[in-house]
């Protein structure tokens, strides 16, 4: 019985039902947190003395940028679980995270561009952090495209897992090389102007939002995993029962 908690993860039905409940909790929790963080951040946090009100995009930009990278880590953990324990649920997680991770990366790039225009006077610069984010977006796209091109889901999962793990080794190298390249090409006239000191009334709502976005990511991944599970297990009896009940 001691291993039951572990073996349960092998059952798609168990996961589907459990994930539904978790999703509900995550949904309401994240809604509350993001509402508090965003209203506080946009409405009540003090104005930045340098950037004025435009800095307030950090309440969206910083959380999604955090997640864009964290999602890749989560995907890599899933890939390891898939290869070590051959759990199909890990493959479903990889598939969901690739798409949602790409969405977060695109959102981070987009919100950064919107902020860059009033602050730097341009939507895009070849700054190290922007560039490595762009490469990350391409990697997510590669995973989505690779999976879409292979018909057998088990085979697609393993192939994507290999690419994810190769990417995990490479991402730090890419990040460092791009940082090095940027300092070579241009002097530090443009930096992401991160204030070393921020008043608490600025960073507390930011922290709340970061937490809220993490939970909303969990909500989205769980939802997408449930949808993929139902599709993959469409021939099994529990899915048929589920459909009959609806």
């Amino acid at each position: 019985m001691r291993w039951r908690w572990f073996h349960q993860w092998g059952s798609p039905r168990w996961f589907y039902e459990r994930a539904g409940r978790w999703q509900l909790v995550c949904g309401w929790l994240s809604l509350g947190l993001i509402a508090v963080g965003t209203i506080w951040g946009l409405g009540f946090a003090p104005v930045d003395y340098q950037q004025g009100n435009s800095y307030r995009i950090i309440y969206l930009h910083v959380p999604v940028a955090f997640l864009a990278q964290a999602m890749y880590g989560a995907m890599a953990v899933s890939a390891v679980v898939l290869f070590v324990w051959k759990m199909k649920i890990a493959d479903v997680a990889m598939q969901s995270i690739a798409i949602i991770g790409f969405a977060f990366t695109a959102l981070a790039l987009g919100s950064g561009a919107v902020w860059g225009k009033p602050t730097w006077g341009t939507y895009w610069v070849w700054d190290a952090r922007l560039t490595s984010m762009l490469i990350l977006a391409f990697l997510y796209l590669a995973l989505i495209g690779l999976r879409a091109s292979i018909r057998d889901p088990d085979q697609a999962g393993k192939v994507c897992g290999i690419l994810i793990l190769v990417g995990v080794v490479n991402l730090p190298i890419i990040k460092y090389s791009v940082e090095w390249w940027n300092t070579l090409h241009q002097p530090a006239s443009l930096k992401l102007t991160e204030k070393p000191t921020m008043p608490a009334s600025m960073w507390i709502p930011l922290l709340i939002n970061i937490l809220g976005y993490y939970i909303v990511a969990a909500y989205l991944v769980l939802g997408s995993m449930r949808a993929i599970l139902v599709e993959r297990e469409r021939r099994s009896s529990w899915v048929r029962e589920l459909v009959k009940r609806v």
Binding site: I135, F138, L139, L141, A142, G145, L146, S149, I150, R151, D152, D154, Q155, A156, K158, V159, I162, L163, L165, V166, G167, V169, N170, I173, I174, S177, V178, W180, W181, L184
Partner: protein, 224 residues
């Protein structure tokens, strides 16, 4: 004859049977480089400045073009499946195949680079730096494009998917190579960066064949 010798001999025979496969990427490189002055300007000073980067990118594309289907024919005629039954690690045989590919299909591109450098009036010392950079960097690129080819073996209509999948992983190589070329143009020390590039190539040559062999195994298992 040992297995290694037989595999290399087979690669040689295949290349001799289809010399077009060696010529086409060279032809492509020449064409792309000829397009650069036409698209930009015949001004030799400007060309000299961006020429080495242009040649580098064109070579990268030519390399990707000819390694896109690196394992495809061996996969469809069952050679890769036979490799599984040799008493050698699959990664070792993959490494051999990649080495043969580099010698037969990538080295000619590198040998052509001084000629195309002349076409874009790249100065002599930069042209030498470009040649050495390519020599040092292409093993890593060959390994990664081989991985792209192996990952997409099971794809129904892979097209240029393997290229799209692998391009992001080329970033460190491209960045370091551009560093070497910029330093060569300044006349400053290039050796440290070349050493880093070499280290990346050696690490890729050791590790990537393992990933390639995994991808081949998965795709052979899935096709049954």
């Amino acid at each position: 004859m040992s297995i290694e010798k037989r595999i290399l001999a087979r690669e040689l025979w295949l290349a001799a049977a289809r010399p077009g496969d060696i010529v086409k990427p060279l032809w492509f490189l020449l064409l792309v480089v000829s397009m650069v002055p036409l698209a930009l300007t015949p001004d030799s000073e400007l060309l000299a400045e961006i020429g080495s980067a242009m040649i580098w990118i064109a070579t990268l594309l030519a390399l990707l073009l000819n390694s896109e289907h690196l394992f495809q024919s061996d996969f469809s005629d069952g050679i890769l499946e036979q490799w599984l039954f040799f008493n050698r690690p699959l990664a070792w045989l993959v490494g051999l195949k990649l080495t043969a590919h580099w010698l037969l299909h990538v080295l000619p591109l590198i040998l052509l680079s001084p000629v195309v450098a002349l076409m874009l009036s790249v100065p002599g010392d930069v042209s030498i730096a470009l040649f050495i950079t390519m020599l040092v960097a292409t093993p890593a690129l060959t390994c990664f494009s081989g991985l792209g080819a192996a990952l997409t073996l099971g794809s129904s209509r892979s097209g240029i998917l393997g290229v799209l999948v692998m391009m992001p992983l080329f970033v460190p190589v491209v960045v370091l190579a551009s560093g070497v070329l910029i330093r060569a143009m300044d006349g400053s020390e290039t050796l440290p960066l070349l050493a880093l590039l070499g280290a990346f190539s050696v690490a890729s040559a050791v590790l990537v064949p393992i990933a390639v062999s995994l991808a081949i195994r998965v795709n052979i298992g899935g096709s049954n």
